[in-house]
Symmetry: C6
Subunit: 79 residues, 6 copies
């Protein structure tokens, strides 16, 4: 049996700093794309597309913002 | 009478870990698509479309992020 | 005077289980479309469109996720 | 001086029932469109467009869901 | 050195009424567009575009709904 | 080894005023685009695109609204 894909590095939403929380949000957003499109070669092509497409870059930003909202709440906003 | 479609595996938002919460978010997002388009063959075709379409992969990620926000709150962020 | 359209079955956000909460979210999302486009025949045509359009299926999923977030909070996440 | 456009009927988020909360969400969403496009004739034309466009009907549903989340929280979910 | 653009009139999220909260949400949404596109003439042209485009009017409504959710929470929903 | 990109200026969500919170939201949204498209020249071209495209300007506003919601909660809404 194949191992399940790791969807949250460290299997925790708790991070030491906002910067690390932000990095986690980016990774979590990318891992959903990875699990939906497991072929690394295709993903590489798609990445080339969205890195030069303004609308998609903004959409990526929206997803990261949503993931980060959850992570920030989990960490009591690092107050 | 046909059985209702299962929309939340285990009929609970509580999971042991963030990883399992993330897996639940993915399943919940997919089950909404299943109930809206019950034909498995058509779904398979549509899946082939979005797995190679960057904008749709990002949109899937946005939905999963929204589902996960709810699951994470339900689990008090696994603190 | 015509009766107002029922927008929330049972006029309550409280449900016995997460599964029922999810079913309520789907119904609430559909009832907004019904009230915006009251013609059943046109709705039937539009439904045929979005059931075979990947981007729209994903968008429906996003709306259901948003409705469900509210319902889940109303039910204290069925903890 | 012209009177300001009424953006929230009754100037309150509190409603007696979830049904009334849902109706308020729909009105609030429409009033934003009204204030952005004050010409009633143009609005009528645009309305004809979105009532027969699946993607736009879904987008309207997303906005109503977001407004309703705020109204539901304001009313402690009518628990 | 140029003064920074005012992004929140009054530099506060607190308002006397829901109506004023709604007006603030509209202004905050517009000020983001202003700071992203500082040229008033171009903005005027873009405004003419979105005031007659249904999809964009709905998108403006979505943004205002999101800003308003924050303002409403800040004001404890004017309960 | 290259230094990690700074994703949150000051590595904190806490700001003195709503205005500063809003400025932070704009910066955080931009830094996600920067880390996704590290080439400054390409970013400059993309920026020229979205500054004159109404739909993208609205989408940027949506992302900033989402980031700001998190920052506002972190600061207890500067009450």
């Amino acid at each position: 049996m194949s191992e399940p894909v790791q969807l949250i590095p460290g299997n925790s939403l708790i991070t030491a700093t906002p910067q690390e929380g932000r990095e986690l949000a980016i990774k979590m957003a990318r891992l959903i794309i990875k699990v939906t499109q497991p072929d690394a070669e295709i993903r590489e092509k798609l990445r080339a597309v969205y890195a030069e497409d303004t609308a998609m870059l903004i959409a990526v930003g929206q997803t990261v913002a949503t993931e980060f909202a959850t992570i920030a709440a989990a960490n009591n906003y690092w107050r």
